[in-house]
Each structure stands twice: as C-alpha cells, then as structure tokens.
Symmetry: C2
DNA sequence: GCCATATGTGACACTCGGTGTCATATTTGG
DNA sequence: CCAAATATGACACCGAGTGTCACATATGGC
C-alpha cells in the first residue's frame, strides 16, 4: 500500500511541476533556471534533481515509463493478431490515457530542448517496441519499419491535433493516421 | 572561388575531427572533454567551438546542411511527380552521397548523446521537408505522414545496414524500405 | 514509547558544455 | 603598403547536473 512517504513525494513533484510550468509560461523555458524553480517551490536546486532527472522532464509528468509499458502491452497481446493492428490498438489505448493539455504540447513544440527530449523518449519507446515485435517472430527489418512507421503516425497526429488547437477528437485522428499509413507489406 | 582561408578552415576542421574520433575510440565519447580534443589538436577550447557548434557535431562531419539541401531538392523537382516517388528519389540520392563509415555509425548508435543529436538533425530535416511538400500543394496531415514515414524508412535502413555490418548495398536497402513502407493513401 | 535504520534535505564544491568579450596577431583586398 | 576583416588565446562567466557530508525526520520491529 501507499505510505506517507510516497504521497508526500508525489505531492512535492506536483508542486514542483506546477511552479515550473508557471515560470515557463511567464518567462519561457530557457530563461528559467532550475534554481528559480527550486526557489519558487521552497527548496534547494539539489532537491529539484531528487524529483526530476533533468529540467526537461518536469514537463513530461507521468509520461516517463511509456516505453516499458507499451512494450509490455504488445508482448501480452494475442499472438495471432496482425502487427499493425496490434500497434494501432496499443498506441490508441495509450493515446486515450493522455489528457494532454494543448498548453503543454505547444510549449514542447515551441521549445527545441523539449522537442528533443520528446524525440528521445519516443526513440527509447521505439527500441523497446522493436524488441517486442521481434519476440513475436517478426523479422528485424520489418519490425523496425513497422515501429518507426507507428511512431511517425503518432507524431503526425500530435502535430495535426495541435494545428486544430486541440478541437478535433484525438482518437479519431489516430485511427485515420494508422489507416492512411498502413504499410503495404503488412497484410 | 575558394581562397586560402576556406582551405585552412576545412583542414583545421578535418584535423579536429580526426583527433576527436581517435579520442572517442580510445576512451569513449563521454569520457573525452572538449578541452582534451582541443589540446590534442593544439588549440584552445574556445577555438574548438569556432569550428563546431557542439561536441556532438564533430562526429557528423558534412552532414550538417542536410535539411536545407533536401528541402531545396524537393522543391525543384517536377511538380507532377508523386510525393512518395519524390521523397524516395531525393533521399536515395542523398543516401548515395553518404560514404558513411560503419565505425562512425556504431559510435553514434552506441552513444545516447550522439543518437539524440542524430534524431534532432533528422527532425529538423523533416520539418523542412513538410514545408516543401506543403508548397507542392499537399495537405498538412498528409505531408506530415509522408515526411515522417520517409524518415522512418531511412532509420530502418540505417539500422538494418548496421545489423549486417555494412556488407549489403545501401541503395538497394533504401529501395526495399521505400517500397515496403509506401503508404496506402499515396496513389 | 524506543531505538536502529532508512530516507529526505541543505549546503557546498566540483565538472563540463557552451558563450561573451577583449586584446592581439594574421590575412585579405585595394 | 595600409585599412578592414578575420582568427586566435586568455579569461571570466553561466547553467545543468553530480558527489558528498552532515543533519534531520520518518519508519518499522521490539
């Protein structure tokens, strides 16, 4: 069960993230130092890094264990399912869990350092997905192509969603992208 | 024409890159400081940054203006050409210009900081490609999907090529990937 | 309630990548 | 040959991130 420790930890993390986002919105990401964030939350710079590994990560909240989780879901799917359907389904479900605020995404998209961090996370997830697909018996090249294509689909979705200001339904968009991008070689 | 200045500049860059790669191979990327590289090439740390914007860039040699160049090539292609063929042709030609050594690629692939830098460069290129495609009259979502898919293809190619130790023909691999990944919605 | 242990925190020093600046060569083009 | 452009070294500086130590506070078993 969850003790006092974990609860306070999560509270502090939330507090820290909140203060940070305020400052980012106010003066911009690059113009805000970790020291500023820490002071705003009433703690030392050193302690900030006990809650977040990097300054960028404060923006990505709970999205941290994505790779691990997605790969696991793929691994535990019915083995006879077609790879593209598998990716579509899993990532669709994952996309549903993101009640991503438009603000955070705009910030990420307009800040090179954050965009880079996003690319890193996606790439890390892609690596794990490739392994999961290979475990299902897919040849390496095909697994690479499929995983990279799926990542490409999600990227296009995010951008299109941003373009519309977050008005259209994100899941519909995911379905559209996955349908449009379905590679010829996948059944 | 090319004066003395440009020639010496290129020579110094090459010297710097050579020394750097030696050191990276010897002790690893992270264990080598910019000061080390500069000293090995007989100059100050400050001067290193007059030749390369970041420590990572010393590995990527001439691959710097990729985005700009590729976008320009796309823009100057016959307008009636199908987008996927266009991307295929342009990136194929670009891939041909890379006499990428296996060693450099291995280094990149096994060093997170370098892998990240590669992702950045690819993403920057992708952005420009999307613009170029949009200028050709492609709807934004489709342009995003196509550009991201093309990037995905190249990534898979690079990885497969590495997997084989650089033995197979890279251009054939590019053709295979582009054929396999061709999205359904592109004619 | 008590105590040994684990965990959180601040403070401080340090490394390293990267930038601004200035003074001083060296090169270039006229 | 001379004035303007460019290259260099030296130095100071910033900010992200880490190691360490001393001290406080919480935890779980008794």
């Amino acid at each position: 069960m969850e003790g006092l420790r974990d609860r306070t930890r999560r509270a502090v993390r939330a507090e820290l993230a909140g203060r940070a986002l305020d400052l980012f919105a106010e003066r911009g990401f690059d113009e805000t130092t970790v020291g500023d964030i820490a002071r705003a939350a009433g703690m030392s710079k050193r302690s900030f890094f006990r809650y977040f590994p990097t300054k960028e990560d404060v923006v990505f909240g709970e999205i941290e264990v994505m790779g691990e989780q997605v790969a696991h879901e793929i691994a535990t799917r019915p083995p006879q399912e077609q790879p593209w359907e598998c990716l579509h389904t899993v990532l669709r479900g994952w996309e549903a869990r993101i009640n991503a605020q438009v603000d955070a995404m705009r910030l990420i998209e307009s800040t090179p350092a954050l965009r880079t961090r996003l690319l890193q996370k996606r790439d890390e997830a892609r690596t794990r997905i490739v392994i999961a697909l290979a475990d299902r018996g897919m040849p390496p090249l095909e697994a690479d192509l499929a995983a990279a294509a799926a990542g490409a689909a999600l990227d296009a979705v995010a951008r299109e969603w941003l373009r519309t200001g977050g008005t259209v339904d994100r899941l519909t968009l995911v379905d559209t992208a996955f349908t449009m991008l379905r590679p010829a070689f996948l059944t």
